[in-house]
Amino acid sequence: MANLRTFPYVLKSAFGSIWRNLEGTTYAVLTTAVMLLMFGGFLVVNDTLDRMIDALGRRTNMVAYLTDNALPSDTAELVTVLQNDPNVGQVTFISRDDAAAKFRDTLDELAEILDVIENNPFPASIEVRMNDPEAILALADELRSRTDIVEEVLVRDDVVSRLLYISQLVRLAGGVLLISIGLVTIFVIQNTIRLAVFSRRDEIEIMKLIGATDWFVRGPFVIEGAIIGFLGSAIASAVLVTGFARVGPRIESVISFLPIQTGAAFVSNVSVFTMVVGVLLGAAGSYLSVRRHLASIE
């Protein structure tokens, strides 16, 4: 309760400190804005690449060829199992007759071959399109283990592996870059707050001597850091939204063959996330800075 009642004073102190250290705060806000612009921009790029890879992955499929003696009931059960798998997008059963018909339709000039062969040589098969391309190899292995009804499973291993490799590489690079940007942002805000802490070290000492709690002492600095983070991220978000409004439609037109969202809602989500990250990084940087100072005077 006491903490709630002291909040207006803590808030006022935070704004007072920002006002007194306007030059340093402006520098920190602008640096944070640049960092968070890179952060938000990379989120957009990373997400777009991720969606491209997903979209390409969804176009990959595999075919499970069934044994000639596979029972219709077993086949139907396998189709149901695949349809219920969340990693699977689409399951198509192709009977032996359908396969022969498809052969006739697509390779008209070779259709006569079928007339001279007594029995239909095509096996029945199940075509599987994936929702999650990363799961395709595991699913292929699972199907291969069903030797009772599955004769062979065909997967374009090389394409899938390359896609997965690129996807993992993009995610790893993105993760490293995002963490690096986060750490640099914390560092910038931490140093700005350290200057504020240094200029108010006497005030902090007096506060502690007259019985202020650590929360009361830290509060204004943490809020100050959060405000710096908020302002920096607001600038970064504004640039992101404005920039993407111009560039987004061009990207969509260039890669129109892939179902990728570059709409305002998507960028808005990234902006909101960037702002939340900005506020949290700002508060965290300040917290660390004041905590170190308090530890040194206690």
């Binding site: 004073y9 506060m207 001597l209 007259i210 019985g211 206690e298």
Partner: protein, 225 residues
């Protein structure tokens, strides 16, 4: 009541307080005198828990200070009013902003803060100074503001470290009289000072510390015992 029992404080090989044993009764007013570096400030810092003893027992208001954890220090310190040698006021803030600080940290309501600050400023003779900026005040007035800040939250104990340092004799007399007046309202008061005139004039208990030891402890004593 404040009890020091065989208290020693060392910083490495340097001994700031050496086996000090003394008691300050409730509502008592004492002068702590002695040369620079004798251990007066260390004595006060032990009470505020800025420093912990290397050896010995300290009891303040019935609390063994050894049992006060780091997280409990803020609440403990709110029972003590402190007047610093250099006042440690915020020069860029108004008198009321300075005086109200001990109340603000406890989350006191606006009305309570206003009433207590008005009372505090009236006690120190600074009625009508609320909105003046601290940087506009004289040395004596700043000391009064510092005293008002120390007593505004009605502490049980008042510690003053060289409260008349750099003041004119008349201003110093007024500050010492004020501290004595406050102690008579039921506040245990310890004043560390070099002010020989005040000590001789007020004739209160005088504890002389030299080289970390209590050299003399006399009731109604003078500066030199």
């Amino acid at each position: 009541m404040i009890v020091f029992q065989n208290v020693t404080k060392s910083y490495g090989r340097r001994v700031a307080l050496d086996d000090v044993t003394m008691t300050v009764d409730r509502n008592e007013f004492i002068f702590l005198v002695g040369p620079n570096g004798a251990g007066k400030s260390t004595f006060l810092k032990m009470i505020t828990l800025e420093e912990r003893p290397s050896k010995g027992l300290i009891i303040v208001g019935g609390v063994d200070t050894d049992t006060v954890s780091e997280s409990a220090i803020p609440a403990y310190r709110r029972r003590i009013g402190m007047v610093f040698q250099d006042t440690r006021l915020f020069a860029d803030r108004s008198v009321i902003e300075n005086v109200s600080l001990p109340l603000r940290i406890t989350g006191a309501s606006g009305g309570e803060i206003r009433r207590s600050c008005e009372n505090g400023l009236r006690t120190v003779g600074l009625d009508g100074f609320s909105n003046r900026n601290a940087s506009e005040l004289s040395g004596g007035e700043l000391r009064r503001v510092a005293i008002a800040r120390a007593i505004v939250s009605k502490p049980e104990i008042l510690l003053a470290d060289e409260p008349t340092d750099s003041l004119s004799p008349s201003a110093a007399d007024k500050i010492m009289d004020l501290l004595l007046e406050i102690s008579l309202t039921g506040v245990t008061t310890i004043v560390a000072t070099h002010d020989r005139d005040a000590v001789d004039r007020l004739r209160r208990r005088v504890v002389r510390i030299e080289q970390g030891k209590i050299a003399s402890d006399e009731f109604a004593g003078g500066f030199n015992g």
